[in-house]
């Protein structure tokens, strides 16, 4: 291994850690409303609020590519059944933080958690 090889690897590690820190910072902000957005082909299929922890629903997502079953439970989202052969979306487990997402490439489905950010100014008094 040569000097240039080490340099390339260091550069990639630094870049990856930088990106990770950036994502961490952008997802740990405080949100006062959390909801999951299900998108198929880039269009919104359904939105579900995740605020109610006791809410439980199984949502079948029927697309022209195939069917996925989504479970909303304890304020978290998880894909519990998929017709695709690789089942990568099921391996990803549950997600519950804004910015996290589950992607199903064969069915072109993205489940993303979003939040409404707290305003910078909480109250204005005169």
């Amino acid at each position: 291994m040569k000097k240039g090889d080490i340099l390339i690897m260091l550069f990639v590690v630094v870049l990856a850690i930088g990106l990770l820190v950036f994502y961490k910072i952008s997802t740990t902000q405080h949100y006062h409303h959390k909801y999951a957005v299900i998108m198929v082909d880039g269009k919104i299929y359904k939105e579900i609020s995740l605020e109610d922890v006791n809410y439980r629903e199984e949502i079948p997502i029927v697309t022209k590519y195939g069917t996925n079953v989504l479970l909303v439970k304890d304020g978290r989202v998880q894909v519990i059944d998929a017709e695709c052969p690789d089942k990568i979306c099921m391996k990803e487990g549950f997600i519950d933080k804004p910015g996290q997402s589950i992607v199903c490439l064969p069915f072109r489905m993205v489940v993303e958690i979003r939040g409404v950010k707290n305003a910078e100014v909480d109250q204005v008094s005169y």
Binding site: D5, V13, A16, I17, V103, L105, M109
Partner: protein, 171 residues
């Protein structure tokens, strides 16, 4: 090397990379992030890049991906493979050209692995029309260093022994 020799060798490289690709599909890989895999077929791409240069490697890569789509996977994977493969080849050629003697096969292969991930992620985000899936990129980049070093070392060993083939009067 005559034109026939060259063609036969390119065909052997395509066959080798195709076999590696199919074997890779049979190996169980721990789930790190979607799209993370070993990239064994990249061993042949690196070897070919060092032996035959950019254009012949492009042909080897393209034919391999085309045939792999027929043999091993569903048609939709073609676009991910071609996006990742072509971007990775350009990046490796670039790294090899500017690095010259400072970068060995290992560095070139790491660059290839990382850019393969970037290319695939770009194609995937185009297909689902959502740029946010790029959050997987950092983890894939780190995984790419591991597989890239492994692939690079393998290619290095093969290239070291390539000289012995001179006795077969191929050059």
């Amino acid at each position: 090397m005559s034109r026939t020799h060259r063609m036969v060798f390119l065909a052997i490289l395509v066959a080798n990379s195709l076999i590696l690709y199919i074997i890779e599909g049979m190996l169980p890989v721990p789930f790190i992030a979607p799209g993370a895999k070993l990239g064994l077929a990249n061993i042949i791409t690196v070897i070919s890049l060092y032996l035959f240069g950019f254009f012949d490697t492009f042909i080897v890569l393209f034919v391999r991906i085309l045939l792999a789509t027929f043999f091993a996977s569903s048609p939709s994977t073609f676009f991910y493979s071609i996006g990742g493969g072509v971007l990775s080849l350009f990046a490796m050629y670039f790294a090899k050209s500017i690095g010259k003697s400072n970068i060995s096969e290992v560095g070139v292969s790491v660059v290839g692995a990382v850019f393969h991930n970037i290319g695939q992620m770009l194609v995937a985000s185009l297909i689902v029309q959502n740029i946010n899936i790029m959050v997987y990129l950092p983890v894939l980049m780190i995984a790419g260093i591991g597989t890239g070093v492994f692939v690079g070392l393998t290619a290095k060993f093969v290239l070291k022994h390539w000289g012995k083939l001179k006795n077969l009067n191929l050059h």
